[in-house]
Amino acid sequence: MLTLLIQGGMDAFLDYLSAHVLACLVPAFFIAGAIGVFVSQASVIKYFGAEAKRILSYSVASISGTVLAVCSCTVLPLFSGIYQRGAGVGPATAFLYSGPAINILAIVYSARLLGLDLGTGRVVGAILFSIIIGLIMAFLFRKEEKQKVKQALDLGIPEGGKRGYALLIYFASLIGILVFASQKQWILTGISFIVLFSALRVWYSKEEIKEWLLATWGFVKLITPWLLLGVFVAGMIKTLIPETLIQQWLGGNSLQSNLIASVFGALMYFATLTEVPIVKAFLDMGMGRGPALALLLAGPALSLPSMIVIVRVMGAKKAFTYIGLVVIMATATGMMFGHFFT
């Protein structure tokens, strides 16, 4: 039995390495490194202050995961800070929900491995529903929010980061490489490379380039071991769980399969990106595409350890309301998606 399990894990592992699935992540790692070094975090975080306009807070909260949540461990302190000292419960929960789902690595990896429809569904679902969850939370707890003493946010973050054209052209060329390489448009990929190198030569110092490469390598070191472990576990799942069980519980697009998928996702802990190969394994075994999206939405946003922290920050009542909303929203999004895309 045990040898069978390990065999399953190893098979999946080798399959991955030979299929170059991870190669699609290489440009994404470089982009993540670039975001970490050159985008000023302070310029984003100022929209989470107590004085910031509501509409701005919500929109920034729903999309800023791309910039701020490249590592899942940064999400909880930010959430706690926005909740206690900044814009309050609405934007804080919006950020908590969408943050882990929309970082650049998660988007690229989901789209490549699970299909463009699920990749896009994940991004759009996370952004839209984070705003809805945030608004509902803010509405339910509007009285308590008023009593909270607003404190100024002391950022303690160095300003900096590049601005303007230099940044724009640099990121556009990186994204160009990512997109064109995945489409096998080699001429356009080459052009993007030339643009990138010229941009680096003209606007960036050696010191900055070094910092960027170091940050990129940092992400590779941080994420790759977890990812390989996830692939291994996904392989073991395939051997361990009978397909009929998956088809029965997670197949199709019924309310039941979507709900099971989202509750399972909410309880399980997924380290950065590991949810993707695991969902892929489930899909191969007969999981419906709706439930797959439900799991992808509820999964990284919640886990038992993160629930404990959330309870500690917001108190049990708000925390469980939030958890309930996440499960309901993920289920609903999954059902809608499954309805249109199966």
Binding site: Q41, I45, F48, L68, C71, C73, T74, L76, P77, L78, S80, G81, I82, Q84, R85, Q151, L153, D154, L155, G156, I157, P158, G218, K221, L222, V309, R312, V313
Partner: protein, 81 residues
């Protein structure tokens, strides 16, 4: 005796910061205790949003970035004067 706190919930970059700080303390021979703070409420009370962060004697020196060893040493020294 200095009190140096490393704020962060156990991510790789926090450990990196802790290692660098301990090294700096050793090299300078400053009397200091280095504590890792993982409690989220304490972190938030410092007003820190992005971890890891370095706090020397209750003052936040940097957040969201692992500083270079020279920078850490500078902070440790300027406090001593």
């Amino acid at each position: 005796m200095k009190k140096i706190e490393i704020l962060g919930m156990g991510c790789t970059r926090c450990n990196q910061l802790a290692d660098r700080t301990r090294e700096a303390v050793k090299e300078l021979g400053v009397e200091a205790e280095v504590i890792k703070v993982q409690d989220i409420k304490t972190i938030t009370n410092y007003g820190v949003l992005v971890t890891p962060a370095l706090v020397v004697d209750g003052v936040v020196k940097i957040a969201g970035k692992v500083p270079k060893s020279e920078e850490i040493k500078k902070w440790l020294e300027e406090e001593r004067k």
